[in-house]
Assembly symmetry: C2
Homo-oligomer: 323 residues x 2
């Protein structure tokens, strides 16, 4: 297969951790190529670097960044996919600019209203729950949410091997009468939509359970949920350790398990499941967390390879095609 274009310049730990991650992927047999400023990147070992002279910073305005920095690593990575020189792109950089680059250079899949970010949330003991939209579209239409359900089902099927993913619509009560007018209208449409195994409304507390495989919502609510979960993990683990340390009688036991608590924490972290995918653009685009280190980047490259080999873009095209 064609190499995966990894944006060497994006992310809090770019370029060093990104390059290390790309090398890890390469050593695992995944074809990768780097995109960025060769002078900044340094030694890449056996990896090819596609020169791109500009960088869209983490806090740049996405639309302006993509419009003005035509020779940026993000724009060039998307062009490599468009031009058939790469099979996929991976970036831990500015999320908005990653979406804009993919959308403007690769284009949308025919029939897709809006691309959405599908983010897997780890669920202990079973397959992850796919949340979408995790932040691409703050405001949506019911028709878009129906497509998110169709696209999320394709993703969950190919990424996690779930034959018939159960799709839930995020709301504030199980009854179809609960929620905003948007949710109520979407509920009616999902009940009749093709290619979706719709199980009805789900609530915030169902998302991390075995009750649902794909959770559909607008990008505002989805992003709030994702960040709330990240924040909960950030808050709860130190709080738990502090609380345990207050139990003086247990101090030997507590100190012995503290490192293990952090190990389990890392398995539960949505950042470490990784492989959020921008669904609906005409190519594979994997969005990594800004805080990604080498292992996360290698993991993202592996997921990109899986999605390419599974032909997910073609599957998405079929899923949204009018019946």
């Amino acid at each position: 297969m064609l190499p995966i274009a990894v944006d060497a310049m994006g992310g809090d730990h770019a370029p060093s951790e990104i390059v290390s991650g790309a090398r890890l992927a390469f050593e695992a047999g995944i074809p990768v190529t780097l995109v960025g400023r060769a002078a900044d990147i340094g030694d890449t070992g056996p990896l090819v670097v596609h020169e791109a002279s500009e960088v869209i910073a983490m806090d740049d305005d996405p639309a302006q960044g993509v419009r003005r920095k035509k020779d940026s690593s993000l724009v060039r990575a998307a062009e490599l996919v468009r031009d058939g020189a790469a099979s996929a792109m991976v970036s831990a950089g500015n999320t908005g600019a990653t979406m804009a680059s993919a959308l403007l250079r690769m284009g949308r899949i025919k029939g897709v209203n809006r691309p959405a970010i599908a983010t897997p949330l780890p669920v202990i003991g079973t397959t992850p729950t796919t949340l979408l939209d995790a932040g691409a579209n703050a405001e949506v239409q019911p028709e878009w949410l129906v497509q998110f359900a169709q696209m999320g089902s394709v993703y969950a099927r190919h990424r996690f091997g779930i034959v018939k993913p159960r799709v839930g619509l995020l709301s504030i009560g199980e009854e179809s009468s609960k929620g905003t007018s948007l949710v109520k209208a979407t509920h009616r449409m999902l009940a009749e939509a093709g290619g979706v195994h719709f199980i009805g409304n789900v609530e915030g507390r169902d998302v991390l359970t075995d009750q649902v495989d794909v959770v559909v919502t607008d990008g505002f609510t989805g992003n709030v949920m994702l960040k709330t979960l990240e924040g909960a993990l950030d808050a709860l683990v130190p709080a738990l350790i502090t609380g345990l340390r207050e139990e003086k009688a247990l101090s030997d036991h507590v100190e012995a398990v503290v490192p293990a608590i952090y190990r389990v924490r890392d398995r539960l972290d949505p950042e470490n499941t990784g492989g959020a995918m921008l669904l609906g653009v005409d190519g594979v685009c994997i969005i990594s967390h800004g805080s990604s280190r080498a292992k996360s980047i290698a993991n993202a490259a592996r997921i990109a390879q899986e999605m390419v080999l599974a032909g997910v873009v073609g599957e998405l095209r079929s899923a949204v095609a009018p019946a």
Copy 2:
């Protein structure tokens, strides 16, 4: 002070746990009275029971329940407050029906557009964060959110002694340009609103930190966030224990700390902080979690007493009065 009217019939463990909770409160010196079907309630010791022949079930339609069951414990409890026979009401019953009873019988504070549910979220090491609206209004207007900010500030001041509560607007980025059109319009209005120490947008991951005291959002997003946090706690603690148990070398230490993990978990549970208050109705109305047991009900009665003694309803009236 006048007694607090406790709805004996509402909640998953009514009436037995509710009655036990009311008795705990009474023994702690808090004046309480029960409302419900005396025949079902049984022995109440020294507590007076106000007879109400009907019950609005947990899954009844709220508006219909309140309209049709005029002699229900919820409607009667709200009437006791309206008629000056009780100082506050407490219920662990049907949340929608509790809101409707309070709103229809007590009425709104003059000038309030819509009442909102203020729910405290525990933050280890500091005062809780007050989240509102936690579910009363799925769809809102910017003006309502500004009032929520004003009312939430009053609540945080009197409930937690925070002199100048920092108010954040929930969004999906810190910049004022981020979020939905509703959020952007609200941001502009909050920046100029009286009685609010507005610190700008906050994200899901800030809510459980020491960065903000009052988080304002619509009732859809707020309810999703609250239930996501509850679900995260439900999922993470068992997942953590399962993960720790996989580390066989640590098994003695792990088993020794498991009970302590559950003890800390309970301190972190928003259900146990309790004392969600319906702000904006003309009386004190405390909404307890449906799963409340005796201790939570006693705690809710204590909070109701504090809010009455602090004159919070009068403070709310001043906060929303036009300058």
